[in-house]
C-alpha cells in the first residue's frame, strides 16, 4: 500500500517511518504542488494537512487521510504520534471495501412532469422551449391546478387569467409536449436517466367537441365545486378546449348525448400505457386541509361557515353578498391537534379575501381574527392598506363559532385589550392550511421530513452529492404562492437541463453495499435510512444507488454487518482503533461535517489538548458502532468521545439521534461492566466549537 506523506514544505518533520515491507512510504516536500498521480481504484493513505483541504485536491480516491499538520504540528504534539496515526490508517485501508465507481447513464432525454398547475406548466414550457420532450401528466381534465379555481391572486387581486392564460399560450407554442389529462402515474420504475412510468387514464367522456355548450344546458346534475355551482358535464376555460364529464357525479342519463354536436361516450373506462423518461419533475401541488376536522368552528354544521376558496368563488360569482364577515386565521394550523406547522401562504389568502369582498361590496364589515399576521416583506403594505380600508384586526384564536338568533357568533379573546369578544356575523371564513400531495413521492419511496418531502436536490434540505433524476417544482414540497412556484419551476427546469447536458455521470460517492450471503432480510436497516435508499426487491435487500448518500447508518444498524459502507466498513474502523489506541488514550470519533472541523479550528486558534487524544474522522456520529467503543475501551482508552452535529442539524437528517440511542444504552452496559458511564460521551460539537471540543477531551483525560 502506498502511503503519501507531505512535509508541508518542511513544516512536518517526519523521520524514519517504517511500517513493514508491504507499505511503501513516499515523502513529498509539497504534495499540493507536486500532485503525484494516484490511481483512483488503488487504496492509499495520504498524510499531511487537514482532509478538508486534501480532499478537494485529491477527490474521488480510495483513501484515508491522516491529519499531521492540524492534529500534531500546530498543537505541538510530538511527531512520533504520526506513526501511530498512519499505521492505524493503513490497517483500516487493508480491510475496507474500495469504492466502486457508479455510472449513471442518461439514456432517455425526455422528462415527465407530474401536475398541471402553474408550476407544472412553467417547467414544461421552459423545458420544451429548450428542446426537451415533455410528457405532462395531469390528474384532472383541465390545466390550471389550484390557480384555475381561484378568482384572483394576491396581493394585487389580479384575476388568475392575467398569469395563467399567457403561460398556457406560451406553452402551447411548443410542439414537443404530450398532454395526458385525467391521468395519474400509477407506478414508477427505473432510475435516473431511465424511468418507466405506468400511466392510468380515466376516460373524459367527451370525445369530440364543437364547444356548442348544449350539453351543459340539458345536464340535470348540479355539482357544488368548491363554492361554485356547475354541471356534471363542464368546462374550465384553460386548456384543452374540450368539455369533460365528471363521472363521480354523472348519472349517465344520456341527455347530453342526445344534443351533442360532437361525440360523447358515457362509459367511464380506465386505460393504461407506459412511457419512459430520463427525469421526473413532481409539480403535484398541494391539498387544502380538511377544515371540518376543526369541529369547534362548525364547518358543515353551521350554514355561513365556509372555506377561503368557497368564499372567494361565491363572492366572485355573485352568489354571496355578505354584510359582516369574520375571517378566522390558522383554522387548524399551528395547532398540535391539526397541522403543527405554518403553511406560509394563508395569511395572504385571508387578506386577499378581505380585499375581494371590500372591492365588490365596500360597505361590508370585515373582521380578521389572527394569532399573528405573518405579512413578511412587501406584504406588509398589503396589510396596512387593508387596515386603512377599515378591516378590523383582532389578535386572538377563536374558541368557537356558534349560532345565535339566525346569526353566527365568533367567540374569541382579544389579546390587545385582554377582553373576551363575541363578534356577530353572517359569514365566517376559515383560513385553513395546506397538506402536501405525497402520492407521487410515496410511489418513489421519497421520505418525508416532518410532514413534507423536502430531502432532495432542489428542495429545502437538498443534497447535491449525487445526481438525481427526481425534481420538484412549486407547492409540491411546501405550500407556495404563484410567484414562488414560478421561480421554483424555473429552478427545476434548469436542473433537468443541467442533467440532460450529460450522457453519463460517474461518481465515487461511497455507497452501502449488501452482502447477500449474510443478509437475512431482517429489515432492521430499512427504516433507519434517511433517504429511503433501502428496499426489498424480489425478496432481496437492495440499495438504490441514486438515493444512497453514504452516511453509514445502515451498516451500523445491521445486526450481522451484511450492509457495509464502501471505504468505511465497520471492521475497518475497528482495525484502525485497535491499532491506534493505547492504554490511557482518549479516542475522539468525530463527524466530518461538524465536530471534526472544530479540531482544525482548535489548531489554528491554539486551543491545545493533550497528545494522548487521538482523532478519527467518521462520516456521521450515526456511523459509529458500540463495538468500536468496546474496542477502544478494551485497549485501555480512558474515554471515547463521539462528536456529532447538534440535534436536528445532522447532515444525514437523523444520524445523531441514532447515535444518541446507542450511546444511552451502551452507557448502561458499560456501567454494569465496571466502567464509568462517562467513559463514552456523545457530544454535539459545532464546526467552530474548538473550545468545547478541547474542554471535553481535557475532562475525559482526567
Amino acid at each position: 500500500m502506498r502511503v503519501l506523506v507531505c512535509t508541508c514544505k518542511d513544516k512536518i518533520k517526519l523521520t524514519n517511518l517504517d511500517l513493514g515491507p508491504d507499505v511503501k512510504i513516499e515523502q513529498y516536500f509539497d504534495l499540493c504542488k507536486e500532485k503525484p498521480a494516484i490511481d483512483s481504484d488503488e487504496k492509499v493513505v495520504i498524510a499531511g494537512c487537514s482532509p478538508n483541504l486534501l480532499e478537494t485536491l485529491f477527490p474521488n480516491l480510495n483513501c484515508e487521510f491522516v491529519n499531521l499538520y492540524e492534529h500534531i504540528v500546530l498543537i505541538g504534539h510530538p511527531i512520533e504520534k504520526a506513526r501511530d496515526l498512519i499505521a492505524a490508517a493503513v490497517e483500516k485501508m487493508k480491510v475496507v471495501t474500495p469504492i466502486k465507481a457508479k455510472i449513471f447513464t442518461i439514456e432517455k432525454k425526455s422528462v415527465v412532469v407530474i401536475g398541471g398547475g402553474v408550476a407544472a406548466i412553467e417547467v414544461a414550457s421552459q423545458l420544451a422551449q429548450n428542446g426537451v420532450g415533455v410528457d405532462l401528466v395531469e390528474r384532472s381534465p383541465f390545466l390550471g391546478g389550484t390557480v384555475a379555481q381561484l378568482d384572483r391572486l394576491y396581493p394585487e387581486g389580479t384575476p388568475y387569467s392575467h398569469t395563467l392564460m399567457p403561460q398556457i399560450a406560451k406553452m402551447l407554442e411548443s410542439k414537443n409536449i404530450n398532454y395526458y389529462f385525467n391521468t395519474e402515474a400509477k407506478d414508477i420504475k427505473g432510475r435516473i436517466g431511465n424511468y418507466d412510468i405506468t400511466l392510468q387514464t380515466c376516460s373524459r367522456g367527451v370525445i369530440d367537441c364543437t364547444h356548442c355548450g348544449k350539453c351543459v344546458d340539458v345536464c340535470p346534475v348540479e355539482v357544488d365545486d368548491a363554492g361554485k355551482m356547475r354541471k356534471a358535464i363542464y368546462y374550465v376555460p384553460t386548456y384543452p378546449d374540450i368539455y369533460a364529464i365528471d363521472f363521480n357525479a354523472c348519472t349517465k342519463c344520456g341527455e347530453c348525448v342526445k344534443v351533442c354536436e360532437g361525440k360523447i361516450e358515457l362509459e367511464d373506462k380506465i386505460a393504461e400505457q407506459n412511457i419512459d423518461a430520463g427525469a421526473i419533475v413532481i409539480a403535484s401541488g398541494l391539498n387544502w386541509y380538511d377544515v371540518d376536522k376543526v369541529t369547534e368552528y362548525g364547518y358543515c354544521r353551521l350554514p355561513g361557515v365556509m372555506k377561503t376558496l368557497e368564499f372567494e368563488r361565491a363572492v366572485a360569482s355573485g352568489v354571496l353578498k355578505p354584510k359582516k364577515v369574520v375571517i378566522i386565521y390558522c383554522a387548524g394550523s399551528r395547532d398540535a391537534n391539526h397541522l403543527p406547522y405554518c403553511s406560509k401562504i394563508c395569511c395572504f389568502l385571508g387578506l386577499k379575501e378581505a380585499k375581494l369582498v371590500l372591492d365588490r361590496y365596500p360597505e361590508t364589515q370585515v373582521y380578521v381574527v389572527a394569532m399573528d399576521m405573518r405579512s413578511f416583506g412587501t406584504f406588509e403594505y398589503f396589510y396596512n392598506k387593508l387596515r386603512e380600508k377599515g378591516v378590523t384586526f383582532v389578535k386572538g384564536k377563536p374558541s368557537e363559532v356558534i349560532k345565535r338568533n339566525d346569526s353566527l357568533v365568533v367567540r374569541t379573546e382579544d389579546l390587545y385589550t385582554n377582553e373576551l369578544l363575541e363578534i356577530e356575523a353572517d359569514t365566517v371564513v376559515l383560513s385553513a392550511g395546506f397538506v402536501p400531495d405525497t402520492a407521487t413521492f410515496d410511489k418513489l419511496g421519497i421520505k418525508l421530513n416532518g410532514d413534507f418531502p423536502v430531502l432532495f436536490e432542489n428542495a429545502d434540505l437538498g443534497n447535491t452529492a449525487l445526481p438525481r433524476g427526481i425534481f420538484t417544482a412549486g407547492a409540491a414540497t411546501f405550500p407556495a404562492g404563484v410567484a414562488d412556484s414560478l421561480v421554483d419551476a424555473r429552478k427545476a427546469a434548469f436542473s433537468v437541463l443541467n442533467l440532460f447536458r450529460q450522457d453519463k455521470i460517474e461518481t465515487k460517492q461511497p455507497n452501502a453495499v449488501i452482502n447477500e450471503d449474510l443478509c437475512s432480510i431482517c429489515r432492521m436497516c430499512i427504516g433507519t435510512c434517511p433517504y429511503g435508499a433501502l428496499s426489498i426487491v424480489e425478496e432481496k435487500l437492495k440499495v438504490n444507488e441514486e438515493l444512497c448518500m453514504g452516511c453509514g447508518i445502515c451498516s451500523i444498524t445491521c445486526p450481522v454487518y451484511a450492509s457495509q459502507l464502501e471505504l468505511f466498513n465497520p471492521q475497518g474502523l475497528s482495525h484502525q482503533i485497535r491499532t491506534l489506541i493505547k492504554k490511557g488514550d482518549v479516542l475522539a470519533l468525530l463527524c466530518r461535517w461538524s465536530a471534526y472541523n472544530a479540531t482544525d479550528k482548535a489548531a489554528y486558534d491554539k486551543y491545545l489538548y493533550p497528545e494522548n487524544v487521538k482523532i478519527i474522522r467518521v462520516p456521521c456520529s450515526g456511523a459509529v458502532d458500540p463495538s468500536h467503543v468496546m474496542d477502544a475501551v478494551n485497549n485501555g482508552a480512558k474515554g471515547v468521545l463521539i462528536g456529532g452535529c447538534y440535534p436536528d442539524a445532522c447532515h444525514y437528517a437523523r444520524g445523531n439521534f441514532r447515535a444518541k440511542a446507542r450511546e444511552q444504552i451502551l452507557k448502561q452496559n458499560l456501567d454494569l461492566l465496571g466502567f464509568s458511564r462517562d467513559i463514552v460521551r456523545l457530544e454535539w460539537i459545532g464546526k467552530d466549537e474548538a473550545n468545547k471540543f478541547v474542554e471535553i477531551v481535557k475532562e475525559m483525560n482526567k
Binding site: 437475512s520 431482517c522 429489515r523 467503543v629 446507542r662 444511552q664 448502561q668 461492566l673 465496571g674
Partner: protein, 321 residues
C-alpha cells in the same frame, strides 16, 4: 476396522447438552454403533487416568460442553485437546460462555460470598468457603481452583468446530456427527449451522413491516405476544436478527423471542454490542430526553444483549474487580 474413539466431556454446564444427546432418541444407537466412547462422565465409568494413558491424538473427536471456570475443567480441556484429533465446542457455553458466563459481571469472592453466605437459605456461621487444599485428619483434601473469569472453550484450547445452541438441537448434532464420520467437514473454525441469521427462516419475519421502527421497548413478560407477528414489530426485544439460524425456531414456536443462544454470525465479534446498536437504531424518536427515557426502559442490558455471549465479547467481563 476399529471404531473411532470419542470423548464427551462437560465443563461448567447445566447438563442440558448431555440431555441433548439423549434427545437423539433412536439415532443414538447409530452413533453408538459407529463410535467407541472413551470418556463420558455422565454416562460411563472411565477415569481421567485412562485418558491420560492414551497416546496423543488417539481420540478421533472430543465433544466438550460447558464453559471453563475451574482448574479441573481447564486441565481436562487441555488433556482432551492433546489426545484428540478434533475438538468440538458443544453447545452455547463452550462456544460463547453461555449462561455461566454471566458470572463475569462478578468475581470469585463475590460469587462465594453470595453462594456460601448471603443467600437466605444458607447457614454458614463459621464463614467456611471452599479452599483448594484442606488439611484433615485423613490427609489433604483438594478441590480445583475456581477462576475469577469464566472462559469459552476456545479461550482455553484450540477448537476445531462449534455446535451451537442451548442445547444444540438433535438434527444439528446428527448432521455434525455424520459430517465428522464421513470426513465431510467445512473449513476449520466453522460453526456447524447456517450462516444467516434466524430471521431468514422465521415464519414471523413475513409479518414484519418493511420499515421496522419502534417507539417503546417491551419485555415479553409484560405483554401477551401475538403468535403470528414479529416480536420486534411489536416492540418486544428479539435477538433473531443478530443470531445464527438453524435452531428450528424452537423458542419462537413456543411464543418466546430469540435470546441468541446460537451466537453471532461470522462477521460479528461482539454480539451484544452489535444487537444493542441495531435495537437502538430503530428507536424512532427525535428527542433527546425521550430517547434517554426509552434507553432506561431497557432493563438488565447485559443479561439481555449478552445472555449467552459475555465471555466471548470484546470486554469479556466486568473490569476492575
Amino acid at each position: 476396522m476399529a471404531k473411532p474413539l470419542v470423548a464427551f466431556y462437560w465443563c461448567a454446564s447445566c447438563g442440558g447438552c448431555e440431555e441433548a444427546v439423549v434427545d437423539l432418541a433412536e439415532d443414538i444407537l447409530k452413533v453408538a454403533d459407529a463410535v467407541e466412547f472413551r470418556l463420558w462422565p455422565v454416562a460411563l465409568d472411565f477415569k481421567y487416568a485412562d485418558v491420560e494413558a492414551m497416546p496423543d491424538k488417539s481420540i478421533a473427536v472430543s465433544f466438550i460442553n460447558g464453559a471453563v471456570r475451574t482448574e479441573e475443567q481447564e486441565h481436562l480441556a487441555k488433556l482432551l485437546r492433546q489426545k484428540s484429533q478434533l475438538v468440538i465446542a458443544f453447545g452455547a457455553c463452550a462456544h460463547l460462555g453461555g449462561i455461566p458466563g454471566l458470572a463475569n459481571v462478578a468475581n470469585k469472592n463475590e460469587i462465594f460470598e453470595t453462594a456460601y453466605k448471603l443467600t437466605r437459605s444458607t447457614a454458614n456461621p463459621k464463614g467456611v468457603y471452599p479452599q483448594t487444599v484442606t488439611e484433615t485428619e485423613y490427609g489433604k483434601l483438594k478441590l480445583p481452583e475456581f477462576f475469577d473469569t469464566v472462559k469459552t472453550l476456545d479461550q482455553t484450547v484450540e477448537v476445531d468446530y462449534y455446535l451451537p445452541g442451548c442445547a444444540p438441537p438433535p438434527d444439528l448434532i446428527m448432521q455434525g456427527v455424520t459430517a465428522i464420520l464421513e470426513g465431510k467437514l467445512p473449513p476449520k473454525g466453522s460453526v456447524l449451522t447456517v450462516e444467516k441469521a434466524l430471521c431468514e427462516t422465521c415464519e414471523r419475519n413475513k409479518s414484519k413491516p418493511d420499515k421496522l421502527m419502534i417507539k417503546e421497548v417491551k419485555r415479553i413478560s409484560e405483554v401477551i405476544a401475538d403468535p403470528e407477528k414479529c416480536f420486534l414489530a411489536e416492540g418486544i426485544i428479539c435477538l433473531g436478527p443478530a443470531t445464527r439460524g438453524g435452531c428450528g425456531e424452537r423458542c419462537i414456536n413456543a411464543n418466546m423471542p430469540c435470546r441468541g443462544c446460537f451466537g453471532p454470525t461470522k462477521e460479528v465479534k461482539d454480539m451484544g454490542a452489535k444487537f444493542l446498536s441495531s435495537l437502538a437504531s430503530i428507536i424512532d424518536v427525535d428527542d433527546e430526553k425521550e430517547i434517554e427515557k426509552i434507553a432506561e426502559s431497557v432493563l438488565d442490558p447485559i443479561g439481555l444483549f449478552y445472555m449467552y455471549s459475555l465471555p466471548s465479547s470484546i470486554l469479556r467481563r466486568k473490569q476492575g474487580v
